[in-house]
């Protein structure tokens, strides 16, 4: 799994570290980890595709904005996603994403914690040898 949860970082909340060989892959791993916090991903089918385009001042903010956008879509459109394809621009300041999932169904989905927000605590994207690594703490 390209992400692992960090149970001791924030007692009341959920923290994870994601790792991938590309920036796009890193964003996909972070989005998957966040969805995994909200729902058992094996219960979500790919029935709807949503396209997301974003631009932000730097790579950190771009990831923050992308995850925040997914939280907004969850509340506004009642959609949860299980598959993410993300292309980040070479400068790391914009992205095009295609995300797949379906409308929240309380009978069908094994729901977990609602995510309130992405926090700035320990938040950041960095290089680790050939990989890209991000640490994210979600407010629950």
């Amino acid at each position: 799994m390209p992400y692992k949860f960090l149970p001791d970082v924030a007692l009341a909340d959920v923290a994870f570290e994601a790792k991938a060989g590309t920036v796009g892959g890193l964003f996909e791993a972070c989005a998957t980890a966040m969805s995994d916090t909200m729902v058992d991903l094996s219960t979500v089918e790919k029935r709807t595709t949503k396209r997301i385009s974003l631009a932000s001042p730097d790579l950190d903010r771009l990831l923050y904005d992308f995850l925040t956008e997914l939280i907004i879509v969850k509340d506004v459109d009642s959609l949860l996603f299980c598959e993410f394809e993300v292309e980040v621009s070479p400068g790391g300041t914009s992205l095009e994403a295609s995300v797949r999932g379906e409308a929240i169904d309380r009978e069908k989905h094994v729901l977990r914690n609602d995510v309130k927000a992405v926090t700035m605590h320990m938040f950041g994207v960095k290089r680790d040898g050939p990989d890209w690594v991000a640490t994210v703490v979600l407010d629950i």
Binding site: A12, I71, I72, I104, R106, R112, N113, D114
Partner: protein, 485 residues
């Protein structure tokens, strides 16, 4: 905690950390805790409360209450007051869930009448008060109405058939904080919040049927003021906040403040402690938006109470008035407000941040509704879903020591993962049932994460605040039916 020896012990339940503890501290920090609670506090609390003591314009002391634990920026259980002209406002001093708070309504029902109906009541309330991931409420409002809710909170409810006549006056600030600026709220925040009125949320939020614990009815005379007269009287408690609306307001402005810090030349000790001068454009904009979220939260809890009244009415085939389902009080515990306080021999307006802390105004304060003015403001402290909760009153000593503030709850001591490892949701549900608590949860994982063992002992927290004299115990309430978001 290794540093305790460097703290100055003031009493058995209060400690001071001097400004020499950390470079940049403008005022000392004060902790309310027994030695045992202090030893159990995570070291993050000390780091954070002393960071708060470094913020520009802070007045007198930075406080950590007996339930303090690590939070983002400020500790949860933290209080800090700032001089409005020179001081700052910080989203980290309020929390993502703006105006998360507690609401308590009474009934005139005895537990013997309610006991056979608890399951039916909880099951119906679970339908009428949506809980969990991505839920929408039953109350539909349009954009202009949502603007009015942001501005007038429970007053809007009273004018639109969603409140009883005496509800607004029994809410902190009369049900709405002045100074809302809907124009400062983002489109995204509006979209997240407009359909969420009357929803419980997730995490540690709950709706609970409770019974007076006769062995811990500490002050029957004070209880009478709140209409609590029987040793087995049934009450209902609500714990929730401004839902996605407030979370988005916090996220939006955290981003704004993250950039503003550098412009104002503030040292960034922690990105979550982002702040801006209260008198700056960023500070004023955030305050205007944050007040909108606070008023939305008051409204959210009000709509939930309307649904609770309906549930009781349907189950008992009586109108809610005949069951005396009046609001005892509604308190904020994640908020910043301008309040007038007397300190160091002068009276002045201050911006008081309470993050995981409750207002605790003492007897005689003009902001307390008239039925309670002579005894002090009701303070509602919520425990875990297994251990019960408390009703207290504010004191004059709180006015003198903590800008009229006290603790808010019990505080986690165990991570969500560790709690899930220790107990399964279904097993916990069964065990609680055996102890006479019927619980219905939006998720079984979420239920396990909120197990009582994951929290501090609320009784010790409450006893500490009572001994410190900054709130006074009235009655303990034990859960018999619980809805977990």
């Amino acid at each position: 905690m290794a540093q305790i020896d460097s703290f100055r012990k003031l009493t058995d339940v209060s400690w001071e950390i001097p400004t020499s503890y950390k470079q940049g501290m403008l005022v000392p920090a004060k902790l309310y805790a027994t030695r045992k609670l202090l030893e159990g506090m995570d070291s993050g609390v000390i780091e954070q409360v002393t960071n708060v003591a470094c913020l520009p314009g802070i007045v007198r002391q930075a406080y950590a209450m007996a339930d303090a634990h690590w939070g983002y920026g400020f500790p949860i259980g933290g209080v800090a007051a700032f001089e409005p002209e020179t001081g700052v406002i910080s989203p980290g001093g309020i929390g993502f869930d703006v105006n998360c708070g507690m609401r308590l309504i009474r009934t005139n029902l005895r537990y013997s009448e309610v006991k056979p109906k608890v399951k039916e009541l909880v099951d119906l309330m679970f339908k009428l008060v949506p809980a969990g991931v991505g839920v929408k409420g039953f109350l539909r409002v349009n954009e202009p109405q949502f603007d009015e809710i942001m501005t007038y909170g429970v007053k809007w409810c009273a004018e639109n058939g969603q409140a009883w006549e005496d509800d607004p006056s029994h809410v902190e600030e009369g049900g709405f904080i002045k100074g809302a600026e809907p124009a400062k709220v983002s489109r995204q925040a509006r979209s997240r919040g407009i359909d969420q009125l009357g929803t419980l949320g997730s995490g540690n939020h709950y709706l609970e049927i409770q019974v007076v614990d006769p062995a811990r009815f500490f002050d029957a005379e004070l209880g009478r003021h709140f209409g609590i007269v029987h040793p087995d009287q049934v009450l209902v408690m609500v714990h929730c906040g401004s839902r996605g609306f407030g979370h988005q307001v916090a996220s939006d402005y955290l981003r704004v403040f993250d950039g503003a810090m550098k412009r104002y030349g503030f040292a960034v000790r922690d990105r979550e402690l982002a702040c801006a001068p209260f008198s700056s454009k960023e500070g004023k904009d955030y305050y205007g938006a944050m007040v909108c979220a606070a008023n939305m939260a008051f409204t959210n809890r009000q709509i939930i109470v309307q649904q609770v009244r309906q549930a009781f009415s349907r189950v008992f085939h009586r109108d809610p008035e005949s069951m005396d389902m009046h609001l005892i009080y509604d308190v904020c515990h994640n908020i910043a407000k301008v309040e007038r306080h007397t300190y160091d021999g002068r009276s002045a307006d201050l911006l008081v941040h309470r993050k995981g802390a409750t207002r605790s105004f003492g007897p005689g304060h003009p902001d307390i509704p008239s039925p309670y003015r002579s005894i002090g403001q009701p303070v509602i402290i919520g425990g875990s879903m297994e251990t019960g909760s408390y009703l207290l009153v504010g004191t004059q000593k709180a006015m003198e020591e903590t800008f009229g503030s006290t603790a808010h709850g019990s505080g986690r001591t165990m991570s969500r993962t560790a709690a899930k490892r220790a107990v399964r949701g279904a097993e916990l549900q069964q065990k609680m049932m055996e102890r006479g608590i019927y619980v219905k949860a939006a998720t079984m994982d979420g239920l396990a994460e909120e197990a009582g063992m994951a929290y501090k002992d609320i009784s010790e927290v409450v006893a500490t605040m009572d001994e410190a004299g900054i709130s006074k115990k009235v009655v303990a309430l034990r859960p018999v039916g619980n809805i977990k978001g």
